[in-house]
Structure formats: C-alpha cells, structure tokens
Symmetry: C2
Subunit: 147 residues, 2 copies
Amino acid sequence: MKERGLKTTAQRDDIARVFFSEGGHRSVEELYAAVKKVNARVGYATVYRTLKLLKETGLAAERRFDDGQARYEPSEERAQHHDHIICERCGKIVEFNSEELERQQERIARFLGFVVSRHRMELYGICSDCREGKRGAPAKPRGIQQL
Amino acid sequence: MKERGLKTTAQRDDIARVFFSEGGHRSVEELYAAVKKVNARVGYATVYRTLKLLKETGLAAERRFDDGQARYEPSEERAQHHDHIICERCGKIVEFNSEELERQQERIARFLGFVVSRHRMELYGICSDCREGKRGAPAKPRGIQQL
DNA sequence: GTCAGTGCAAAAGATTTGCATGCGA
DNA sequence: TCGCATGCAAATCTTTTGCACTGAC
C-alpha cells in the first residue's frame, strides 16, 4: 500500500488504513481520535508526521478551509481532481469538478504569464437543506459532482 | 475616514493610515512593523484588534494564502472584487477579475443547491519573470487585471 | 468622570521538534 | 545490531485574552 520508500510500522499502517478507509476531509484531530480507537499506542505527533509524509509522497492532499485547521484527503492521484463548496450553516462539504472552470483558470493564468501548478477554489454559501430549515446531520456526501 | 461607529484614537488612526496607504496584501507582522515606524507606542495586540475591527466593519478583507498567516487588504467595497494568482518562486501576487469565472461559479453553486455568499480562489504557479530566470524583487503589482 | 481602547504578558490552539527509547529491517 | 520512528513534553508560531492603566468624549 505504501511502497514509496516508506518504512512500515504498526502506527503508520494503522494511520494509513484509517485515513484511506474513512476518506473525506478529516482534520488531524478527527484522524487522531479515529486511530486511537484502533491503536491506543499512537501519539498526536505521529499522526502529524505521518500525514506530512503522505502529503510529501503525494498520497494525501492537504486542505485548509476557513476554520483554522488543516484537513487531509486521499490524493488526487487516486481520486479525480475536484474543488469544494462548503455550507456555512451545517458545515457540509460537497465536491465538484467542472472542466469548463478548469479551462477558464488555465486561460487566465496563461494570459497573465503564469504556468499553474495548482489552485485552490472554495465556494462558501448556504445549502438548500439549510435554507429550507431542515435540521439534523447533513446528508452524506455523494461523491464528486460533475458539471 | 472611519466613521462607522468607531472611536478614533491615535493608534487606530496610524494603523488605518498605514494600512490604506500601503494597500497590497500585508501580513499583520508587516503592518505592525510599518506602523511601529510611524508610532512606536503601538502594540501588536492593537494591530490585531484594529484589523479585526476593520474586517468586521467591512473596510478590510482578510486573506489566507498558503503561508500560514492572515493577510489584509482594503475591502472590496472600495476596490473591485478580484481573485489572486501567486508565484510560488518569487511570491508575487497578481490580482485579476473575470466575469466569466464569476458566472461560472454562480452557475455551479446554483446547480448544487447553494446560495453563495463568498468564495475563495487562488491560482499558484510560476510567473514569466521567474521562468525566464530574472532575479531581484518582483515587479510592482499593476492593479487588477481584467479578463 | 466614564468607559472603551491599549500595552504587556500570559493564554490558547495548531503544529513542530528535541531527546531518550523502541522496534523494524 | 543500527538507525529511523515514536511518544511525550516542551517549544514554536500565530492570534486572542485578562487585567490594570490611559486617554477620548
């Protein structure tokens, strides 16, 4: 699973297993809690160190939304590239992808003389469930919306 | 200049003066240093507090790029809305605006059932100066590029 | 004269790091 | 066995806050 020059240890295995099975956009705190349940012998620092490792080897992508803490998700090498739209009321995060938008960005960058290596694009607003006054946990994300 | 219900004090005046005259995307640290030169009697906390005030009254906009610290720029009430493209080599930040891109985002959000309140869009790449091997300070930004 | 605004230092929250120890290759 | 990986706590970094004091209105 992680033969990219990484030594295998019990904690790395457990962290990686939890990380890739849960998917989603997990904060370090959430991941730490989840890993703890599987292996109580894991320290906070190791979770940070492992996540950084996964990021450096390209297996994980780091996201920073506006809540002040980093979140990680399985890299786009394994999932398709996508952006995020976030509900400011219930916190729901929906992933989407738009070819049109990508082309657009590429065009803009080229015009300004840049070669783009990556981008970050987040939309913030209120989702329909919240506008309609529905309560309770947000609906489970349904994967990447193609547009 | 700041009659939005704000009491005027020497430090606020100085901070606001520096902030609005320098413009750009200044980190708190940079602003603090700049204000210090004008008025040594200003504390770090006051810069933070004043910036937060300016943000809340809509006079300043907070930006968080990928370098871990907040940056502020005069609000879009006074300047036009724009996004950013950032050179990962020299740190140059170019502002741009694209009606097309805005429409695009609006369309996507609507399709997903969201009403957008704000968005965040940053492109990261290498600028032409850097690709051509030019050294030295990045060229002064030339305002918002219309696309 | 009041009370909001300020400075300083301490607190907080997120993340990193030093160091002695443990465990995989 | 050897050295990287780990745990824990301490250190960093950025931002916030408590508190006594100052200055604006």
